[in-house]
Amino acid sequence: MNDGFKYRAPTSRAELFGLLAAHGEGAKILAGGTDLLVDIRSGLVRPELVINLKKVEDFPELVWSQSQGLIIGPATTVNDVLHDPKVRDCYPLLAECALSIASHQLRNRATVIGNIVHASPGADMAPGLLCLGARVQIASQRGRRELFLKDFFTGVKRTVLGHDEIVESITVPAGTARSRGSYRKLKRIDGHDLSLVGVALTNTDGDVRVGIGSAAPTPLLIEGLTDQDPADAVVAAARAAIRPISDLRCSKEYREYMIEVFVRRLLEEVR
């Protein structure tokens, strides 16, 4: 049960960073809220302060440019990405990942960065963003830093983010725009569900990359493959990378099997 946290809605980055620095671990960022409010209700997190960052006026928004590629801001919702004409044109894979998340009204609130920062092994935006070479821009009172998304996750619901830091943007390079590729998600029903496994695979000018969710403590990226590699080699690379478990949603064996099937089918599509 959620009892007793305070709420703040800073309007500037400086104010936000000040609050984060002052409250440390006791503060939680509220963007879409669709993970945070669930975690608070279940008692998984018990913040003393919840900071809504949607009122901050000097944050990046969803924009695309030939020079910088796609920039996704902290308040960019999953539906913003899903319905953005430029995304659909240049990164249809991201739209596909976005559509696979929850329901329409959830996607109206859930943010892309929130999906990544929550760092669930099955985060649906992760496999696509990993394949497309996304980078993460991190900011705090101490300054800014940037890293590849593949280096962002450190474990189940764990990332490199410090308590005073936020992800200010995720960028997707223009170089991977119009990569061929798709996302396959194994679910328990056709309606909204978490991924039992999720596989994205892209072919960018012959360079094949595979992003896999729900197959290890973090979303995985498999690089260094080409569209000339035999399917068995791509499957072998995926198999070497994954470490699936059996849980109430799915068995380890079926996860392994379905990842292999998805990799083969996706590879077939992009050759």
């Binding site: 009892d3 328990r188 909204h192 109430l248 068995s251």
Partner: protein, 799 residues
């Protein structure tokens, strides 16, 4: 009213009439128990056991009691009341031991929900954790721990149930028909297999909620989301030894129930909290998570079926062993066991049958009524088994079923003789099979199969069910005329979404020959104001309440005719009526309006005669008997509703993933009262049936902790999960004692959907599926681990 003035052909029955509760529900104006707030109301919260089986060593409530805003704190030790529907085995709060994960061990009432939540967090419970018994077959082992060591001392309904003291068996129901040994000796083939399904949740969108006020002088009022106000009152009064006229139960709109809100649940605990808090009303609504384990579920079942078949494909004998997992309390599970036992063979003619149906206690959340009342569970096995037997004997599954269907002259397992008015299972089966082009793929389907690489298969399954209820189940209706000639109908059958208010409106309107706009069924149910009804369960409401409403209309008309005869200086046989007035048949201009008679007729000089027109109707199930405890013989069935499903499924043979292309279902409802609401009941049940078939299941760890008490991990179907095509078909073989010839269909659409689906998947891939739900992973495993049918054949003709 005389015989000659029986109403003409129905004007509303059978026709499109919009639901009468639409406007309230569509505008947010309909008030549910969860919406109610009263002055001085307190909020309850419950401390729940994290263990499946444990001794309660100590409960420290002092911190909770000292929290400002807390008005009552209770533990089991303070309460000496036991509740139970058929076997009185449940304490209001756990005493000394906990018997399942999520069981209530302490409770608080506080001024706000937030304070109540903080207060239960402050209660410390010390447990000694004990090894639980989790599987019902393990619980039969003589070395198994006993969930209820005191079973032998519990009160129970002796006419219907047989607890076995010293065991984990609160009931064993036996059916014996014919000579089972001779039947198997006569058989050319004997086929034996076991089928299983887990516990599942009802998932009404409105979780259980109640508000109880227990004022000084033992004046108790209960507002609840319950299905059955009078049974709730009865069980409540028995537990607290209160007279019925001290306890009032009010049921406003109910946000779905499906059996889970039958009986009694939270009300006794809230009553005790209210009494302790000085009589303030106390409200509790279960969270979605609590709905899974603080409240009951549907029982798991292991069904062992042994079938003997003769050379001609006729079933010669069937031995049916049912092991029902009751969970920690007997509740409805003992009656699910009983009702399933007498239906266990399905709508088939089985000359020699043996049924042993056990209800078995385990350390899990307890099982209760759920739409289908056991039939969804056992038909899973039965209709998979019919498919297997057909395959073994080399007969088409449709032909095999048709050959063995009940027909006029057949007898049921309990010896009831079927006649031409009982209903027509053959017509249902043929309609469902025909709607899916059973037995072949159309050119379009062949093309689709070639295009997608997915395999298309078709499956059918039959079903039947009779209401599971006491042999003497009764109900009543009161119809009161207002001074403008409109009427209000009072019944205690609750409107839980099924459309009762609408079809009762139609039936009353037709019987009175009034437009539906002049008939209103009162919205709330109130045991102080409404006439008795047993329960809103079992698909019995339409028949019993329908007949009572018709009788009430006739009673009202009889009184109106008597008054009119006086006014018009005629005899009642001289009179007829239309929607507005009663008139002299020969000279219709001589008439008196219903409005003028409604509250007493007034002559021009001011003299009054007659009085308020109030009709009373009652109806009791006719001719039913208790079942013999040793043989199960007797007459338990008010009516049988037959049905059948046809399913077309498309399966990815590589991954086991599948989709349902079409489901077509036919039910013999006797007479369709309202096509739109009937189709709504059918589709709703069919999709709920697909949910139970495809994905729904309680999942426990080996210590009995429930792992998926949420909609995140206990998925129910969404709009995206619908089959591409859904077809509902009505068969109308009139039920001679049904209102307008009708019989109930509330539960039936959910029954046998699962085996129809699995039969289609089997047709497409050969996957032998014996456990439901059928997840894609299960199909994948079954495809890649195919066993020969000989595996299950224990007798076959020499080759």
């Amino acid at each position: 009213m005389s015989e000659s003035t029986l109403p003409p052909a129905a004007a509303h029955v059978g026709d499109d009439v919009q639901r009468v509760d639409d406007a309230a529900k569509l505008t947010g104006g309909a008030m549910y128990a969860s919406d109610l707030v009263f002055a001085g109301m307190l909020y309850a919260q419950v401390k729940k056991s994290p263990h499946a089986r444990a001794k309660i060593l100590a409960i420290n409530t002092s911190k909770a009691k000292n929290l400002p805003g807390v008005h009552a704190v209770l533990t089991g030790k303070e309460l000496d009341y036991r509740i139970g529907l058929y076997v009185v085995d449940k304490d209001v709060l756990a005493k000394d031991v906990v018997r399942h994960f999520g069981e209530a061990v302490a409770a608080v009432a506080a001024e706000s929900l937030d304070i109540a939540c903080r207060a239960v967090d402050l209660i410390d419970v010390e447990y000694e954790v004990l090894p639980p018994v989790l599987n019902q077959l393990d619980a039969l082992d003589e070395n198994s721990p006993l969930v209820h060591p005191d079973l032998g001392s519990y009160d129970y309904v002796k006419a219907s149930f047989s607890p076995q003291p010293g065991t984990n068996i609160p009931n064993l129901t036996k059916i014996r028909k014919g000579d089972i040994d001779a039947g198997f000796a006569e058989a050319k083939w004997i086929v034996e297999r076991e089928y299983t399904n887990p516990s599942v949740q009802h998932v009404p969108l409105e979780t259980h909620v109640a508000i109880v006020e227990w004022k000084a002088g033992d004046e108790v009022t209960i507002w609840s989301s319950a299905q059955s106000p009078f049974t709730l009152r009865d069980l409540f009064c028995r537990a607290f030894k209160l007279p019925h006229n001290k306890v009032r139960v009010v049921i406003p709109h109910v946000g779905g129930a499906f059996g889970g809100k039958a009986g009694i649940h939270l009300e006794p605990l809230l009553a005790c909290l209210s009494r302790k808090a000085g009589g303030r009303p106390v409200k509790f609504q279960a969270t979605r998570e609590e709905e899974f384990s603080l409240l009951p579920c549907r029982s798991a079942l292991t069904y062992k079926i042994k079938t003997g078949v003769g050379a001609d494909g006729r079933i010669t004998a069937q031995k049916l062993l049912m092991y029902w997992d009751s969970g920690a309390y007997a509740d409805y599970a003992v009656n699910v066991t009983r009702a399933s036992a007498y239906s266990a063979g399905g709508p088939y003619d089985i000359p020699n049958a043996w049924v042993d149906a056990y209800t078995i206690y385990t350390n899990k959340p307890w099982g209760t009524a759920y739409r289908g009342f056991g039939h969804v569970e056992f038909f899973w096995g039965l209709e998979r088994h019919m498919e297997l037997v057909a395959e073994v004997i080399g007969m088409d599954p449709l032909e095999f079923r048709k050959k063995n269907l009940l027909k006029p002259g057949s007898t049921t397992l309990t010896g009831e003789r079927i006649n031409e008015h009982t209903g027509n299972p053959l017509k249902c089966l043929e309609a469902a099979a025909s709607a899916i082009n059973y037995g072949r793929l159309t050119p379009e389907e062949q093309e689709r199969q070639a295009r997608t690489g997915r395999r298309i298969g078709k499956g059918i399954a039959t079903l039947h069910k009779a209401p599971a209820m006491p042999s003497f189940t009764s109900t009543a209706a009161v119809i009161k005329m207002n001074s403008d000639g409109s009427v209000v109908v009072n019944i205690a059958l609750t409107e839980i979404g099924q459309g009762t208010a609408t079809v009762v409106t139609q039936m009353a309107a037709d019987r009175l020959r009034f437009p539906v706009s002049r008939v209103k069924v009162a919205v709330e149910r109130d045991t102080d104001k409404d006439p008795f009804d047993w329960q809103t369960v079992a698909s019995k409401g339409l028949l019993l309440t329908g007949n009572a409403v018709i009788a009430a209309c006739d009673d009202l008309l009889r009184q109106a005719y008597l008054d009119a005869a006086q006014v018009l200086r005629a005899q009642t046989v001289d009179l007829d009526h239309d929607g507005e007035k009663i008139f002299v048949k020969q000279r219709p201009e001589e008439s008196v309006t219903f409005a003028a008679l409604s509250i007493g007729y007034v002559y021009p000089n001011g003299n009054g005669i007659g009085g308020p027109l109030i009709g009373l109707g009652r109806y009791t199930a006719q001719g039913l008997t208790s079942l013999d405890k040793e043989t199960g013989q007797g007459l338990p069935a008010l009516d049988w509703t037959y049905g059948a499903h046809g399913v077309i499924a498309e399966v990815d043979p590589e991954t086991g993933e599948y989709t349902v292309i079409k489901i077509a279902s036919a039910f013999d409802v006797g007479k369709v009262i309202n096509p739109g609401t009937m189709r709504g009941q059918c589709i709703g049940g069919m999709i709920q049936g697909l949910g139970t078939a495809e994905c729904e299941s309680y999942i426990y760890d080996d210590q009995g902790h429930l792992l998926n008490p949420s909609l995140t991990d206990n998925k129910i179907l969404t709009a995206k999960d619908l089959p591409e095509e859904i077809e509902c078909i009505a068969v109308e073989t009139p039920q001679l004692d049904g209102p307008f010839g009708a019989r109930g269909v509330g539960e039936h659409p959910m029954i046998s959907v699962a085996p129809a689906l699995a039969n289609a998947i089997h047709d497409a891939t050969g996957a032998e599926l014996t456990h439901m739900p059928v997840r894609s992973e299960d199909v994948w495993r079954a495809i890649h681990n195919r066993l020969p049918v000989d595996t299950w054949v224990t007798k076959a003709p020499a080759v």
